[in-house]
């Protein structure tokens, strides 16, 4: 590390520096002791195998589920002889079905010997699993599946009869489109996987299950298409997910923060989408989708800065329109980052850069403003951000009131009160619009955040500072990777073939190849010559 070397050279100089060096070393090496949180392992007792004595098993479950009022341990007799136990969680299990298809047939007389295989035959449930340990029982019961234990058997049966209240499929709120599907992911993992499966029916769509969180045991699914996704990438995603050891995962944002490449970057390194069609499109390009139960969105890895600037609408409009809108978005991305800082730099350092007529007008409007342009910009930007934040959290009806107040405060009163000049209001307004143009909220907010250091740089060093800031951001973007894929690709490193979805939105019949991510690459996505060639003429020949 160059900076480190440089620092050492400086601090090694001279004897007078000795004292400082000591202090510095103390500062550098004063690593706090790592907190010795007991390694969150599994409860030892849960590894216990079931015994053949039902009473023992019952005692075990009663200690495990002590003080759990929602866990029901229902005891009954199979065929009026063998003692049995049905364990389930009230509210998660479809009781009607359990009564009808499990309890009812078993409580009748059974001629055959009371062994598990025979019991299986009697029960009219399509999916039945064997359970052997307490841990298995806990996993099944928590998932809503009732578990049957019986005397004389050291195994039990779990029936897939879970049923709980869930939200219906609705239109995605943060990613609305004009054309294209209107269904969005919901909180339930199973429904989300079913939406993916409905779009990609090939058995090559693999959905690997996983549970994360010591207490939450959140179900997670890793979806990919075998033969398209790079096995190394799948391995990487899986291993990053496996190393998570936290108490609970309550949303996909937590997963995102725990598996991304650079945790200090302001830029998102996973794409979060509410739309199954977007997730499917990425699956077809060889990405891996991580679905987290409890969050109505999917995480897509890897992503590039370019893919974060694409909107599903680009693909549903005609490709001329899609390309034009994409360029508009690129331009406004720069405005959202540099708008106010460029204004500050021009007004405080480079007045000769502005057209004369504009400068005269601007000078006139700035006449009453008591603050330097930098302070003025900071005030206005902060007020704008506050208004946006206030409006975002409020219900729609009150949100409108906020926007009216905002329009008055920012638009008129600030000028009349002499706090801001009208060109500054314009600059802030245009920048605000620009930041809303980012199709992904996460990118827009990253740009908004970076705007502040840029404004300071512009206020202190003018255009020089502005360029310095851009260089630093660019440097960061160029070194950033998302699951091994350079964040700026296919621009840097340049992959000429992949520019068809960057510089413009190529028509479908031109998108013959998939973008290259990492490792193995299933290059061709369609047969060549998909461009339509309808026969010319009057159709009679």
């Amino acid at each position: 590390m160059k900076t480190g070397l440089f620092g050492l050279v400086i601090f090694d100089r001279g004897i007078a520096m000795g004292n400082m060096k000591k202090r510095l070393n103390r500062l550098l090496h004063s690593d706090r002791q790592k907190p010795s949180i007991a390694a969150p392992g599994k409860d030892p007792q849960t590894e216990i195998h079931l015994s053949e004595d039902l009473n023992e098993n019952l005692k075990l479950l009663q200690t495990v589920y002590a003080d759990c009022s929602d866990v029901i341990l229902h005891q009954f007799l199979i065929g009026e002889q063998t003692k049995a136990l049905l364990a389930y969680i009230d509210g998660l299990t479809n009781l009607e079905e359990a009564d009808q298809h499990v309890l009812a047939p078993l409580q009748q007389n059974i001629d055959a010997e009371h062994t598990l295989p025979n019991i299986r035959k009697k029960v009219a449930v399509s999916s039945i699993k064997d359970v052997r340990t307490v841990a298995d029982i806990i996993a099944e019961v928590s998932g809503g599946n009732p578990v049957l234990l019986m005397d004389g058997q050291n195994q039990g049966l779990a029936f897939a009869l879970s049923k709980f209240e869930k939200r219906g499929i609705e239109e995605p709120i943060s990613e609305s489109v004009l054309r294209g599907p209107r269904e969005g992911f919901v909180e339930t993992l199973r429904i989300n996987t079913s939406m993916l499966r409905r779009k990609l029916r090939s058995p090559n769509l693999k959905i690997k299950p996983m549970n994360i969180g010591i207490y939450s045991r959140t179900p997670i699914a890793i979806a990919y298409i075998e033969g398209i996704a790079d096995p190394g990438l799948i391995q990487e995603v899986t291993s990053r997910l496996q190393r998570i050891e936290v108490d609970g995962i309550l949303g996909s944002a937590a997963v995102e923060e725990l598996i991304e490449d650079n945790p200090y970057s302001p830029f998102p390194q996973l794409l979060s989408t509410e739309r199954p069609d977007v997730a499917s499109a990425y699956l077809l390009e060889g990405h891996v989708v991580v679905l987290v139960d409890g969050t109505p969105s999917a995480l897509i890895a890897p992503v590039t800065i370019v893919s974060l600037l694409q909107s599903p609408d680009d693909y549903s409009e005609r490709y001329f329109v899609g390309s034009a809108i994409r360029w508009l978005r690129y331009i406004f991305l720069f405005i959202s980052l540099l708008g106010p800082s460029f204004y500050v730099a021009a007004v405080t350092f480079h007045q000769e850069m502005l057209p004369t007529a504009l400068l005269l007008t601007m000078a006139k409007s700035r006449e009453q403003v008591p603050f330097p342009a930098l302070i003025e910009a900071l005030i206005m930007e902060t007020v704008f951000e506050a208004l946006r934040e206030a409006g975002a959290r409020l219900p729609k009806q009150i949100g409108q009131a906020v926007s009216i107040v905002g329009a008055l405060v920012i638009g008129q009163a600030a000028i009349a009160a002499g706090i801001a000049s009208s060109p500054m209001v314009l600059a802030v307004a245009v920048t605000g619009v620009a930041s809303f143009m980012a199709p992904r909220f996460t990118v827009g907010i990253a740009m908004r955040l970076l705007r502040y250091p840029m404004m300071f740089l512009a206020g202190f060093l003018g255009l020089l500072g502005l360029i310095l800031g851009v260089i630093v951001i660019l440097y960061h973007l160029l070194t950033l990777r998302s699951f091994g894929v350079p964040y700026m690709s296919p621009l840097a490193p340049l992959k000429r073939n992949d520019l068809k979805d960057v510089l413009w939105r190529a028509p479908r019949w031109k998108m013959n190849t998939r973008p290259h991510l990492t490792g193995e690459w299933n290059q061709y996505r369609q047969a060549p010559g998909q461009q339509p060639h309808p026969p010319k003429g009057n159709g009679e020949g």
Binding site: A363, V369, P372
Partner: protein, 394 residues
């Protein structure tokens, strides 16, 4: 990255951010701390020192008072667009600028000075010194327009900017309209430093307003400078000839009365290009000016039938003659003043660099006797939207 390294980096980042703050913002100037000069005039005082007058755009609404500092007062008044004129003499222009700064509460800002006017007396004495300052100092715009004014330059600055926002705006727009010369500071400096040391600058006169109208500045021909000193004037008609020869003509309406007819025909210039081709034949120096123009007829008050190709042919020849006449007039004037304002010297230098080197000291002898051959090729592209003149039925 282990913790130690990360801490080192963070510490260094912390220090470097503070060094950024140490740099401060000394160069920072808010727009409302600037005295924006829109036009500058340079005169010669009675005791032969340069005097700098500047027209400053008043941005504050309350500043319409027009205080009398340095004997100068403000102009227009009342309207939204107000400017004040301040002037200060100095040993040099730089000195005058610093004296001017003392009179102003705001920082003198040259960045938007679009017009430089030299007073007649200064022009006759020589504009070398002011040009030296204006080209060396980084702030004044080299694309600003230059003028020489009859009388004092500061009188022009004090005129009200009728129609336009500032007087500078007005002068610049007039120069840009291409009916007269449009010479920028850069072009002037180039001409003065060129092989011929001769320059041409538009000549400003103040037109007194008729009745209760305000007086306004007007470009009346041009001033000819030799070695930085004004040696004479060329009237408007001949200035057009200079522009033809300098390949600077863009907008022209030429009206003349064709032979054997009554009334006039007016032409509008569409396109024109001039090429200078120098020749040296022994001691015989000559130059050929090839002019090609494309014109439209926009008015015809004669009996000529313009649908008749022969008539058009005839008009083309006569148009060429008229253009040549203007150029000859300009040539005679320039040769009499011995000021090569057409860039002939540069043309010779480019084609015959060796011969030029030998003869460059004799250029002042060669130029007045230089033979200039004019080859004009005029084309009338459109005779207009009507055929025969509708007001002269046969």
């Amino acid at each position: 990255m282990d913790t130690t390294k990360r801490k080192t980096v963070l510490l260094l980042l912390f220090f470097s951010i503070h060094s950024l703050l140490l740099a401060g913002c000394w160069d920072r100037t808010e727009v409302n701390d600037l005295a924006i000069i829109t036009a500058a005039g340079i005169d010669l005082t009675e005791d032969r020192y340069p005097e700098l007058s500047v027209n400053i755009y008043v941005t504050s609404q309350s500043g319409t008072g027009g205080q009398q500092i340095g004997g100068m007062s403000d102009s227009s008044g009342g309207g939204a667009n107000v400017s004040v004129v301040r002037s200060a003499p100095g040993l040099t222009l730089a000195d005058a600028t610093s004296k001017l700064q003392r009179m102003l509460p705001r920082k003198v800002f040259w960045g938007h000075d679009e017009v430089f006017i030299f007073g007649e007396r200064l022009a006759k004495q020589g504009i070398g010194e002011p040009i030296e300052f204006l080209t060396r100092h980084p702030a004044p715009r080299e694309r600003g327009n230059v003028f020489v004014s009859k009388g004092l330059a500061k009188d022009v600055l004090m005129l009200p900017p009728s129609i336009e926002r500032t007087i500078a705006d007005k002068l610049r727009e007039v120069a840009k309209s291409q009916t007269g010369l449009n010479i920028t500071l850069k072009e002037l400096a180039q001409m003065m430093a060129g092989k011929s040391k001769a320059a041409i600058v538009p000549w400003l006169e103040i037109q007194p307003g008729f009745k209760n109208q305000t007086p306004f500045p007007f470009i009346m021909g041009s001033a000819v400078l030799k070695n930085g000193k004004m040696v004479g004037r060329i009237n408007e008609y001949a200035t057009r000839g200079v522009m033809w020869l300098r390949n600077e003509i863009n907008l022209a309406t030429i009206t003349f009365s064709p032979k054997n007819t009554q009334g006039y025909v007016s032409f509008e210039l569409k396109k024109s290009s001039t090429a200078l081709v120098p020749h040296i034949d022994g001691d015989n120096w000559s130059i050929t000016a090839r002019i090609e123009t494309l014109n439209d007829i926009v008015e015809n008050t004669t009996d000529l039938n313009l649908m008749e190709p022969n008539n058009v042919k005839e008009l083309e020849t006569e148009l060429g003659n008229d253009i040549e006449h203007r150029m000859k007039l300009a040539l005679t004037k320039a040769q009499n003043m011995n000021a090569d304002i057409f860039g002939f010297a540069d043309a010779f230098y480019r084609k015959y660099p060796k011969a030029w080197k030998r003869a460059q000291d004799r250029w002042d002898e060669i130029f007045p006797k230089l033979k200039v051959k004019l080859e004009t090729r005029t084309v009338i592209s459109r005779p207009g939207m009507t055929g025969k003149s509708i007001i002269k039925p046969e």
